[in-house]
Symmetry: C2
Subunit: 302 residues, 2 copies
């Protein structure tokens, strides 16, 4: 018996519906079904009567529901008690891009510092594209990252904000800018093959860009593959080509004057930026507390 099973049962007992519970619990209907089956097998008693149309509690189910509520409550109380018993202290390791450090993270860390002064943040910065893999490999507890197109089950993602994803061209007059302006970029006839592209080497934005290019039928001329949005923006600013980056990065980079957004026919989807962490690591109260503070910091204003 584990608390997870109890939570599933409580949910089903409340909603009296496997399908509604499955949504509530973010799991498939079959997983809910089997969890209840396991419980019933372990107890040797039917807890729920399902007659293909409705679900209702058996006598045993009602008793067990009381128990389950109590048990989960006691468990959570114990967790809190042990947590508050001793002030949370320790290390949380964080991975993010340079830009994210002050644009996304600053308000979170400011709030966190006041609520958990004894927790040390070990921050690693680098290409945002590596965040997910660093979390998956256990190198860092939490990463600031865009939402992956397909996120592994063991990964939890907490969306914090969105930033439009744009194509950028140099603001200063130069050959690339001339090319980019030579025709209506958003017209189907635009000849992309002459325009040098600066694309991300890897990571979420690369995936999004690839998908977008494919869908739009564009075969770009790749001038450079670069690690890190900041470097892309810098290269665009220098007139080396056009490139992709979230608006947030451009604004934060201080290079906002040297690049300009291009308007294109099929606009790129906005990038969902947030925290990523292994479910497993989130069981650690230290990690969880930073996670929660981040969620509150960005949810409260909205």
């Amino acid at each position: 018996m584990d608390t997870r099973s109890l939570a599933v049962f409580i949910s089903v007992a409340d909603t009296l519906s496997f399908s509604r519970s499955s949504e509530q619990l973010h799991m498939s209907v079959s997983a809910v079904s089997r969890t209840i089956q396991r419980l019933e097998e372990e107890l040797g008693q039917a807890l729920l009567v399902r007659d293909n149309r409705s679900v209702r509690l058996t006598g045993a189910g009602q008793e067990f529901r009381e128990y389950a509520r109590r048990s989960v409550a006691e468990w959570q109380q114990m967790r809190r008690q042990l947590g508050t018993d001793k002030e949370l202290a320790g290390e949380v390791s964080l991975y993010c891009s340079v830009t994210a450090t002050y644009s996304v993270l600053a308000p979170i860390l400011e709030a966190f510092r006041t609520t958990h002064p004894a927790v040390e943040i070990m921050m690693h910065t680098g290409d945002q594209a590596d965040g997910i893999s660093r979390v998956l490999s256990g190198q860092d507890d939490i990463a600031v990252s865009g939402r992956p197109l397909r996120l592994p089950q063991r990964l939890e993602f907490l969306p914090l904000l969105e930033s439009p994803l744009c194509l950028w061209m140099p603001a200063a007059d130069c050959a690339v800018r001339q090319l980019a302006l030579s025709a209506r970029v958003d017209s189907p006839e635009f000849d992309w093959s002459t325009l040098p592209f600066i694309v991300p080497e890897r990571g979420i934005t690369k995936d999004i860009l690839d998908a977008w290019l494919r869908d739009s039928g564009i075969r770009p001329r790749v001038y450079a593959q670069v690690a890190g949005h900041e470097a892309i923006v810098a290269m665009v600013g220098l007139g080396l080509g056009v490139g992709i980056a979230p608006e947030l990065v451009v604004r934060a980079s201080g290079l906002g004057a040297s690049v300009q957004p291009m308007t294109v026919a099929d606009s790129l989807p906005p990038l969902a930026i947030g925290l990523a962490s292994l479910r497993r690591r989130l069981q650690n109260p230290l990690v969880k507390s930073l996670w929660d503070v981040a969620g509150q910091t960005y949810r409260a204003p909205v």
Copy 2:
């Protein structure tokens, strides 16, 4: 969190030793170690202080120990309550050989019938050799079987009694008997290659016999491979050869007069007979109750 982890922690907190607990809990030391680590990670608190020589509880550990005891107790009480609330009813499926039906099972079922009259036994009989695989494949809840030489982790085995494993020869005068008596069977010079052997087709006794033959350096002349001890005894009784069977089967077969045990130099190891079931299935109280009754039935007299 699950009750298993709590039980592990309670044990370690009691013994103050990972290794002693690992024996007590029938699991490896590393599994114990990791279970504690998982708990500590989930709670974000050290529960035990290990200094490579001794183990002692932290403050949080002492608190948590109280909680763990309470929680496990409440869980077990709930199980019992639901169990007694409604009388146990349902089906338990059982596999055994014909002989086992009345020699091993009869006293168990007699006791079980009186304590759990509402539980129906669905019994399947057949070659004892198939019991383990039928349990492993989920066809039956419990099988009466000899203890396998190597038992899979997911299988639980409850030894009930032992029966000497013997070689048997025909009691009536016949060619085979002459051969078997022609020389001291237990002398190293005995020529096994002339003596027709009736061996089990598969199963535990086949494994034991194979190992014994190999160790004794005997290369038998196999006359027939037969499914089921009963058939082996019958064939031996008809003078077709010598064969292996537990004494129990011979006594129960009613053919005790038509076969005689052979004394051999390296005696065969006695066969441990008992119940086999998947750990998983034993979580079902119905199955568990039959299991327990069997254990008591055979332990009480001893």
